[in-house]
Symmetry: D2
Subunit: 337 residues, 4 copies
């Protein structure tokens, strides 16, 4: 099959590395450009674990250079930096999968929770990259905004039920993430001694993924839900769990309902016991368990935060945008044991 | 001060060891008897970390022998085994602090969730050992039932608010525990490879601590709340967090309210940011953070599951039963870093 | 390319799972038979992380059934059990890669450290499956004995130097392994609470991998070295490090020497700073760092104990036995981050 | 007993916190001054785990202020900064226990491995604070240099054998430390994602603790040994193990020899199986196991790096300097489980 040249901009962080790990072995996408903010080193200097596997120069990221070598670019950049590149790349005719928050939200929501938007034009046409719900739009998109990791796990659990959830009551999401979710930057929270043998909530009821979940629930369901989100940091590297608590209008069989709902999806596994992080670590799967008692519903979903919640999700979107099989080159085998 | 002779029955497990570690340095309680199901070894054979610190014979546990040497006994035994010993010890005039579930619940609740009760007579007079709420009863008790670890952390967060919680709506408790809570027995769940870099819920919405929380809330508040409890296992040894989500009737300032409520308590710390497990590990503290948005309340409490949630809580109860200072010999300095 | 049917006997343990994970995506080997000691379940019941990836029946292992469906069998069985199957399979014309210790050692060494050997006939022709040193023999072998994990990491570091090591002085090997090396069986040593935040040596100077290292050094170098081996358990899942200390006859440049020695090897990476476990976890690489001060040499090697030290090493051997490219289908991308 | 006022200078780091945790409950030492480089906060702001336990102002460290309030000062400062304070404090008549490297070494050794020494006068009289070997000198000292953590564990294992070790051969020390040993500063090495599930050597054969071990062996034994030291970082917080490999002149019974050698020491435990880190974490014990095969000796010692290897060791020295019982207020009960 004809190769498609792709660029990775923002190769230094964890999601950049995960993109590389997937694309190195991808049968169609070929890495033609790797950029970061500095440039001037080899990839193996940046990520020594790739020695003996793959190497090329890392350039100081420049949109014009990208446009010369690639048809599609993955942006693994901080928000705000991302939209600068996306705007220029799209103008130069390069398709973009953006892993930042810059094109995920409607303008008002974005500016309230992040900063002033500098590419309103493309924002209008950006597609939210959750293929289980926006597949047809992704097929036609030039710009896909990859969902946040917490919204990915939360929405995949919640959206199937949105006609049945009683919107008069709050939805509570108690989320748990491994430390890779906090990024590569060394802070007092990511110091080994701070988080090993420890666990704590952060930004309770004010994390920026809360409005993202809310907005997308409204977009899909047409209803404004009262979403309340509390994330926690766990002493592990990979994986994210979202535990959602709510009230239903009806006493349906949620497991059966979910199995039917997702029966054609390749990356959703409905599990009949509580999910665990290791069974999804290293993969693009979202595992979901669900239990109802009376009208109370408990949804328990798990993903690999830097794969399904970021980099492998991004490559799935790129597959769809390019008319390839959705699971082409996508990791499915977990890091167990 | 005159020494009080005490026995520890069930010295082999984690809570037995924690009792030993506290009592070895306690200024009034003196360990006069240590028993387990087998006997015939020295304490340092059972717990080699005590070599050079403290040693004595471990006996095959026998209530009559206990009664000859001790005024008060701690039972760190499985439920059902515990009530056999308690019954005999109480009849022989020995005060009992029972760390099992055997005397925590009303008869019906107990028999529904555990097994047939074999000591109904003493069950009637047993006092629930949560000193912050039952201090006066503990002072006069011969038999104190030490609360479960999850109920300890949950109730200390919930009970202050029970007049203000809207009982028409469910309370959801998302709890997280270190592996010591699963006991010393080696199972597929406690194998290092199973839980390291992992996290999973277990017994969601059907754990036996759920009815305990519910029953005690009713006892204290007079209201039957709809309590829904989902515990998780975390890849760490010590510590337990309970995150409680609910609706309030009124929009009070919960932090101020809680500070006032617990102002005289030595082992409750109201914290103005999310709690963390390490700040309580090794201590008898319960740390509580609380946040309200609209009528939604988030309570976030943390304890050391085998101390405040078990062994140090038990010694506090013994202190109260014997007229000693509540914090005599009780650990307050966390294992940080 | 024509598929080659292969069997995995002993699918329940960690090395069985790793074999499965490699063979599922292997371009030539096709899994035609999976057996364990019980049979009667599906593979996904045994390893739920494979749900949605691959499934087939697991049979009660039977050599005759294997011979009907497979040309080559991987034995991921305990020693002693393995030789029973190997003997029968070889007689039936099935090639065997044995991951146990049964065919690794000369008869005397084996019977001294393990048990009576029950397949002396095939033992004579078994080839020690370290391709970097026995590649030509493996090409012609029907039975390959996969090396132990510690010998793999130790020998790959030591053998290049065997002409230069001063044999009058002992070689000390201080080895460190993740808990997957201790197997899936739950014991007091593999309980999470026992090994988390802990580290300890086990079987110091009497581990059964010590004679294996010694014997193979003699086989390759013709010299009997005084090998002294102390393994440790580390609080992590995957990975193994061997630190070897010795005296040299000459003051060579060991890094340059090693680079030259291994220049054609695809799975040996000579690193110019100390190796780390994560850069090899998930791969078939052996990373080696080496430093000399005066005549003292320090060799520092790392592998994934259940891949290069077991299952991926076994598939490399199978590749060679079947005339395939040595690195066909072999994992090279580490689990970092 | 009359209280002795003490100061802690350098209260922000891990060893500062450990000093505080010991001194808060010490029966004779009373904390009269706490200083760090900034001052102007309360102790509980610096170490929130002490809320409800102990609080006082933290001052911007000033030697003259210390001299007004304290008879003895603990310096938990970086090397170089420490000698500035020590010099001034000693001149003002305050006894000093210095936890840095500034007074541990002879002038030449110090200046070769650290920097120019700025207090040569007091360096001459400083006593090396390893009480098992320098107790009588410590009794009379005004300035005690607390040993490095690795030298503590190594020397306590090696020194008893120094008459029997064959000095013609090298001693190899393979050491392993928890991450608290790398300090509170957040670096790429101490990021959780870097060291969790990982292990690596650092500064092999060139760590600054190597000359310290060598110098003290010569001081005690009169012989210059060829000490070769390779430290590793382990994915855990507390604890340090030193594995020493060497040749002996004679085939003695090392366990019996060691038991006799240390028979009067309160903080040395000779163990008849390999030591483990958790049995010493939280205590001032040094556990030692030893095994000989032929003339080869393996010494396996473990300490808590920030207690016996630093802060509790420092308080033991202060006890001795002040004529108190050596184990007064010193922690002996490990953090197990």
């Amino acid at each position: 099959m004809k190769k498609i040249k792709t660029a990775i901009i923002g190769a230094s962080g964890y999601t950049g590395l995960e993109l590389l790990k997937i694309l190195i072995n991808h049968p169609v996408f070929e890495i033609s450009y790797i950029g970061n903010s500095e440039g001037g080193m080899s990839l193996c200097e940046l990520h020594p674990s790739l020695i003996g596997v793959f190497d090329m120069n890392v350039s100081k990221a420049d949109a014009k250079d990208v446009a010369k070598t690639a048809e599609l670019a993955f942006l693994a950049l901080p928000h705000k930096t991302a939209m600068g590149f996306a705007k220029e790349l799209l103008t130069l005719g390069v398709k973009v999968v953006d892993l930042s928050a810059d094109y995920r939200l409607e303008l008002d929501t974005y500016e309230k929770h992040y900063c002033k938007h500098e590419d309103k034009e493309h924002l209008k046409d950006a597609v939210y990259g959750l293929p289980e719900f926006f597949r047809e739009d992704i097929k036609r998109a030039d710009l896909v905004a990859n969902p946040g990791c917490y919204p990915t796990a939360s929405l995949l659990g919640l959206l199937p039920f949105c006609d049945i959830i009683d919107e008069r009551y709050p939805i509570f999401i108690d989320a748990k993430s491994g430390v890779s979710g906090a990024g590569k930057k060394c802070t007092s929270k990511t110091h080994f001694v701070s988080i090993d043998e420890n666990c704590f909530a952060y930004n309770p009821l004010k994390h920026r993924h809360e409005p993202e979940i809310k907005e997308k629930m409204k977009m899909v369901c047409g209803v404004e839900f009262d979403v309340n989100f509390v994330p926690h940091l766990l002493p592990l590297i990979r994986g994210e769990m979202c535990d959602c608590y709510m009230l239903l209008k009806d006493e349906i069989d949620p497991l059966k309902y979910l199995r039917e709902f997702y029966k054609d999806e390749k990356f959703i596994r409905i599990i009949d016991r509580p999910v665990d992080l290791k069974s999804v670590a290293g993969t693009n799967f979202c595992d979901i368990f669900v239990k109802r008692v009376g009208k109370k519903l408990y949804i328990n979903s798990a993903i690999d935060n830097i794969l399904k919640g970021s980099s492998s999700g991004a490559v799935v979107n790129a597959n769809i945008m390019c008319g390839l099989d959705e699971d082409l080159g996508i990791p499915k085998i977990a890091y167990v044991p």
